[in-house]
């Protein structure tokens, strides 16, 4: 019964997060990266001081995990075209030069540590694969912008 009552708290905390914090992210990829960054690499526990102060650390952790899973599902359901748009939006929101961003994302593949715990391996691999292609698409676009157009 306690677990069920707690669940209502978690729903309220998730709603709070969706209303106050997540609207300020640039898109679903930005949301995924933001929520993954709230997770301690060593323990897998999500930490958000503001949310923990309003609810409790446990409730905040569960709410963040719920929103993280939600944003992962949102990303995996996107078509490649939309995922490439999300990646571009995220790239712009970081303020990093496109060349540097694309190089580090290709080399480090930071998205590999951004999936929620317990994600099905095939679904994770599906997102990684699509992100790899989306990066290649952005790189292709970027190289076309840099290349001087031949004079008519």
């Amino acid at each position: 019964m306690i677990a069920k009552a707690k669940r209502a708290d978690v729903l309220a905390a998730s709603e709070d997060l969706r209303r106050r914090t997540l609207p300020y992210t640039s898109g679903s990829l930005d949301r995924l990266i933001y929520l993954a960054s709230m997770r301690d690499y060593n323990t897998g526990i999500y930490v958000h001081e503001g949310l923990a102060a309003r609810f409790s650390p446990e409730v905040a952790c569960e709410a963040l995990a719920d929103c993280h899973r939600e944003s992962f599902q949102e990303l995996t359901s996107l078509q490649l075209k939309n995922l490439a748009e999300q990646l571009e939006l995220y790239m712009r929101s970081t303020g990093t030069a496109p060349g540097d961003f694309l190089r580090s994302w290709k080399d480090l593949a930071p998205y590999r540590v951004a999936v929620p715990l317990g994600t099905d391996s095939l679904l994770a691999e599906f997102l990684f694969s699509n992100l790899k292609i989306a990066l290649a698409i952005l790189e292709h676009r970027h190289s076309q912008v840099l290349e001087p157009t031949p004079a008519a």
């Binding site: 069920k4 209502a8 359901s77 078509q79 490649l80 095939l122 679904l123 599906f126 292709h140």
Partner: protein, 196 residues
């Protein structure tokens, strides 16, 4: 002398049969419970992770391919095709592996827990065999002609696997705890409504 040899041979034969019979029985109850839970997890992983129609559609649908083709870069198209081929092979490989695990479990344990008619047993055996053949054919086709070799065949394979899963799910239904209906209208001490 001859009678003694025959007597010893028959005795040894019976002893061997007895040992084989003992080995075929489940060793202990805890092992069986563990296997039941593993089978339930395998089933859930298949139903939730590998067989949802939208995932199958994303891997085998042609919308992404059409988008990549519209960009007009051979390099991008090659990368896309090799990635989708890898994913499609991974998908069918995992389905095959999990269906095999379920078949082994069904043959060794599940049928002991449920009372199935011989016809039902036969039908399930046929489904397992058919699915194994389908998966193998699909793997060969994808290796040979890429991810879009037989999208409809892949969809039908997913449907067949889904159907078999729901049959097996019924035989493992006793592992899913039911929630008493009356909990739905209870309230917590702080007045919160408890969701049943």
């Amino acid at each position: 002398m001859m009678q003694l040899v025959i007597f010893l041979a028959v005795g040894t034969g019976l002893l061997v049969l007895l040992l084989v019979a003992i080995r075929r029985q489940p060793s202990h109850a805890a092992g069986s419970a563990g296997e039941l839970v593993t089978a339930k997890r395998t089933l859930e992983s298949l139903q939730l992770g590998l067989l949802p129609a939208d995932l199958v559609e994303q891997v085998f649908g042609r919308q992404d391919f059409a988008y990549i083709s519209s960009i007009g870069s051979n390099e991008l198209t090659d990368l896309f095709m090799s990635e989708r081929k890898r994913l499609a092979l991974m998908w069918i490989g995992q389905i095959r592996k999990q269906v095999r695990a379920l078949k082994d479990f069904h043959v060794s344990r599940s049928r002991m827990f449920t009372h199935m008619s011989r016809w039902r047993e036969f039908s399930i055996a046929l489904d397992f065999a058919g699915l194994e053949i389908r998966c193998r054919v699909l793997q060969l086709l994808m290796r040979w002609r890429g991810p879009y070799a037989a999208p409809n065949f892949a969809r039908r394979t997913a449907t067949t696997a889904g159907r078999l899963c729901s049959v097996l799910d019924q035989s493992l239904a006793f592992l899913t705890p039911g929630t008493p209906a009356r909990l739905g209208s209870e309230s917590g001490a702080d007045g919160t409504t408890l969701i049943g």
